[in-house]
């Protein structure tokens, strides 16, 4: 089963839920897809066993063959190519690696070479596999890195995906084709507003989902009422607890410091399992 953990708003406790759920279950693989700000490793502290680069293919023009016709510039949708004085200039940071320019070059003067845009690291902590991706600074496009990280999904394991926050393309890339989406929110107007946006995404993808209300006593009842109206199950409520805030701020894991929470996360998993089995 593949469970993704998402939230419209950042800072609601998405990473906390993903990490603690992964470390409460057996035979899990935690995949951090928040490649702009990967944080799971701070808590899991895995032993990294492998590291590899993520690249996209960018065009390389062979000046001997090129006659400066400008077809490559015409077909590039991203303004990544200019052709002036019969000479091609490539701007790699704007290239999406679609391959159109090299395909349409009438003289086959364009090869592709790889440009690094991020890295993936994989390792392990106890019985939990760990994988995360990291976008290089100054790079704009996280989806190619997220797609590469998601190749580490192992269907024989329980896979927990920590998704980026928000509702735009990186989130979609991370959560699509997963079996269940946990949406973590807080009971404030911000939390409600962002939850309703996230629910919009989830509905668009047609994936079953449930909500966790974090710091459930700091705010009002509107998130719960909203979930009831929209028929979305509230899977878990975590009250504000200074101990949890301290554990989190020091980079520690709740279920390791407060083992009684392990059962709560196992119950969470059972609830999700039941929902999915019901749908089948």
């Amino acid at each position: 089963m593949i469970i993704s953990v998402a939230s419209g708003k950042g800072g609601t406790g998405k990473t906390t839920v993903a990490v603690n759920l992964a470390l409460s279950l057996a035979n899990t693989r935690l995949i951090d897809c928040d490649v702009e700000e990967p944080n799971c490793h701070i808590f899991v502290k895995p032993d990294i066993e492998s590291r590899r680069k993520v690249s996209i293919p960018i065009p390389q023009v062979n000046d001997d063959k090129c006659d400066g016709c400008g077809r490559c510039q015409e077909v590039c949708a991203y303004n990544a190519i200019a052709v002036v004085n019969k000479k091609v200039i490539v701007f790699p940071e704007l290239c999406h690696g679609c391959g159109s320019c090299s395909y349409f070059c009438p003289l086959k003067a364009i090869d592709e070479k790889n440009k690094e845009i991020g890295i993936i690291e994989a390792g392990r902590k106890g019985g939990t596999d760990f994988v995360h991706g990291r976008l290089n600074i100054g790079m704009m496009m996280s989806p190619p890195v997220i797609r590469e990280v998601k190749k580490y999904i192992d269907k024989k394991k329980t896979v927990i995906i920590d998704a980026p926050p928000g509702t735009s393309c990186p989130v979609i890339t991370a959560i699509k084709d997963t079996d269940f989406i946990i949406l973590v929110t807080e009971p404030t107007p911000f939390g409600l507003n962002d939850l309703s946006l996230a629910i919009g995404v989830v509905k668009k993808l047609g994936i079953p989902s449930g909500v966790i209300i974090n710091r459930s006593d700091l705010g009002n009842k509107k998130v719960e009422n909203y979930c009831a109206e929209e028929n979305i199950p509230v899977l878990m409520k975590i009250p504000f607890d200074r101990r949890i805030a301290e554990i989190y701020s020091g980079g520690d894991v709740i279920v390791e410091v407060l083992p009684e929470y392990k059962n709560k996360f196992r119950d969470l998993y059972k609830k999700i399992e039941a929902i999915i089995n019901n749908k089948k």
């Binding site: 991203y78 303004n79 200019a82 052709v83 002036v84 004085n85 000479k87 200039i89 940071e93 704007l94």
Partner: protein
Amino acid sequence: MKIAISSGGDTLRSEVDQRFARCPYYIIYDTDSGDFEAVNNESSTAGGGAGIQAAQKISDKGIDAVISGNIGPNAFRVLSAASIKIYSGASGIIKDVIDKFKKGEYKETGSPDVNSHFGMGRGN
């Protein structure tokens, strides 16, 4: 000689727009005949690579020199490769800028003035 000036409006009374790539218009002026035309800058709303696209279009029009407030590195690279002369740091009314240019008061710019993404927000 044909020059292109980034402009906030479509007349010679308009002000120079500080952003080369994301200005709304270019005033194209012919220093020999005194003719001019205002052209829409379609690149002003490009998602990314506006400087590259704008420089490409300027080059396709057979322009000899560009006058603007600030020109970013991507546009700079394309304009230089097209052997177009670059004069940045200009401001004020287009007409006055043309007069100053004719008197030779502007110096050619040797390197880009601003980092990428400049025109995305600022232009003071």
